[in-house]
């Protein structure tokens, strides 16, 4: 589905046009593009930091320090959201190590997940995750890959009501279980959903992203680079010269600008182990964003490669 100019502007209003509209036309070198969380109108930087694989470094202190440097660069560039899961091996304690080292930056938006088949074990797991991070409470807790989602969502709704978590959501990845996700989005009081979406995996544009905009649900986009496969594939060719019009000088920025310029998308969360790459990723949320015509051109170009 193409995004018409009307939907683009309507979506921008829903997703926080007051915050993003200046960025659509003019460069903002100081701050990255911010989007509003529909349920609260809280603004959040449109490029976050994922931790899948990249932060799972065990107790290797040299690599833990590298992760802390990536986090430092992320916060310095203006990033907010760091996303993790109990499934990601040692990533939670590694994030906690980095936050401790950085003095617990105030700008952090902590997003974690509950991932256990037992509904009764959910609260205990969330508490263990919170201790790993060393935060007073999570900003967002999501049901990982819809595992035992009914039981966990009930827990999360209670936790949100009790003020133990600010936002709740559910996640999927790599395009799986979208029918169930759609059903949950239609029926449950979600603040966030997380899904995979990029310039080649555009199925969410058909139903899920419009539905998120309609229902006032923030959207986190995971695996924007298909775990690096998409970048490696595109890297055989140069970034088109016309991408300079939107300030995209690398394929990573090209892809991220495509993602975060969708009006229903709130945050994209690329993962990286490189300080240079985290700066490059956050920089993708600066400057001019592609309009619907440019987005169509970007899709056509990638399809023709």
């Amino acid at each position: 589905m193409r995004i018409g100019r009307r939907m683009f502007l309507e979506g921008a209003l829903i997703a926080g046009a007051g915050v993003i509209s200046p960025s659509l036309t003019t460069a903002q070198p100081s701050k990255p593009l911010a989007r509003q969380i529909p349920s609260s109108r809280e603004a959040i930087a449109a490029v976050g930091l994922g931790s899948w694989i990249t932060f799972n470094v065990g107790d290797d202190t040299a690599l833990m320090d590298e992760c802390a440097q990536v986090m430092a660069a992320f916060f310095a560039a203006g990033g907010h959201m760091i996303d993790c899961s109990p499934m990601y091996g040692s990533s939670q304690p590694v994030i906690g190590y980095g936050l401790e080292k950085l003095g617990h930056p105030k700008s952090l938006f902590s997003a974690d997940k509950v991932w256990t088949s037992s509904g009764a074990s959910g609260p205990e797991q969330i508490e263990r995750s919170r201790r790993y991070w060393g935060v007073p409470r999570f900003d967002l807790v999501q049901v990982h890959n819809l595992l035992s989602w009914e039981a966990h969502l009930k827990t999360l709704i209670d936790m949100r009501t009790a003020g133990q978590v600010r936002y709740i959501g559910v996640t999927t990845s790599d395009g799986r279980r979208h029918d169930l996700l759609e059903q949950i989005m239609r029926t449950q009081p979600l603040d966030f959903v997380q899904l995979s979406y990029n310039v080649v995996d555009r199925e969410p544009e058909q139903r899920l992203l419009p539905l998120a905009a309609e229902r006032g649900i923030a959207v986190i986009v995971n695996r924007p680079f298909q775990q690096g496969r998409l970048i490696r594939r595109l890297a055989r060719d140069d970034v088109p010269e016309w991408a300079a019009e939107i300030g995209a000088s690398t394929w990573a920025q090209f892809i991220l600008k495509y993602i975060v310029s969708h009006p229903a998308v709130t945050v994209a969360i690329p993962a990286t182990t490189s300080v240079d790459h985290v700066r490059e990723n956050v920089d993708a949320a600066r400057g001019v964003m592609p309009d619907p015509a440019m987005r169509t051109r970007m899709v056509s170009y990638v399809q023709d490669l």
């Binding site: 694989i53 990249t54 799972n56 470094v57 065990g58 107790d59 290797d60 690599l63 499934m87 990601y88 091996g89 040692s90 890959n145 819809l146 790599d174 799986r176 279980r177 169930l180 775990q227 182990t273």
Partner: protein
């Protein structure tokens, strides 16, 4: 897991190759100079097999049991499980293998290392891979020497070396000692394959050698004696 058939092995990989190979570097650094001792123990077992002094079968079983306990605890449990939660369920298998080696090795007829011919050559190839090939793999993979995998320190050469020794052995309960090393070779083969490492084939080839040898020995036992 919904739509499990849509997952590829690489989708289930929780860590990067860089972190995986760094584990061996940290293991070697932390366990030095014990690593020299475990490697020497591997060569000592080869001499025990060749010279067959009194109680050599028991000594080999005890040494292997110790090595499986060391690798299981220091590497699989303490190190690998920190980046791969599934290893928390695999580490007890290393303890079980250690116990099985002690029980089978110390039993009255224990292990007797008398296999010759095809089985003998298969065993020697596997042992040579574990003791001599694995330490020099960094030459072929271009990784630092510090990340070499040593017998008795890293699980892959330990499992393959153990299979080599078991292929050389006879014993009433010998079959009990094969499943865990073979299972480990499958696990590591799949993991390395998902990482895109050519070393995956070494572990899978070791399983193929063991299976081929087992089938050949079984066929030989079934064949009627040649009466001329």
């Amino acid at each position: 897991m919904a739509q499990w058939w849509s997952y590829r092995p690489a989708d289930l990989l929780l860590f990067s190759p860089r972190v995986y190979w760094r584990m061996f570097e940290l293991q070697n650094a932390q366990m030095w100079p014990l690593a020299l001792l475990t490697l020497s123990a591997g060569f000592a077992m080869v001499f025990l097999v060749i010279w067959r002094p009194k109680d050599h079968g028991r000594w080999i079983a005890i040494i292997l049991a110790l090595l499986w306990a060391i690798v299981g605890y220091s590497f699989v449990w303490n190190r690998y499980a920190t980046i791969n939660w599934a290893m928390a369920y695999v580490a007890p298998m290393f303890a079980l293998q250690s116990i099985l080696l002690l029980i089978v090795g110390i039993a009255s007829d224990g292990l007797v290392f008398t296999q010759r011919g095809f089985a003998g050559w298969s065993g020697l190839v596997l042992i040579a891979s574990a003791l001599l090939l694995y330490p020099v793999l960094p030459v072929f993979s271009g990784t630092p020497w510090r990340q070499m995998q040593l017998f008795g320190m890293a699980p892959d050469p330990t499992a393959i070396g153990t299979l080599g020794l078991l292929v050389l052995a006879r014993g009433r309960y010998l079959a009990l000692l094969f499943p865990i090393p073979v299972l480990w070779c499958f696990i590591t083969g799949l993991t390395l394959s998902a990482m895109g490492s050519g070393q995956a084939w070494l572990a899978l080839a070791a399983v193929a050698v063991v299976l081929t040898t087992g089938v050949r020995l079984a066929l030989l036992r079934r064949s009627p004696p040649n009466t001329g």
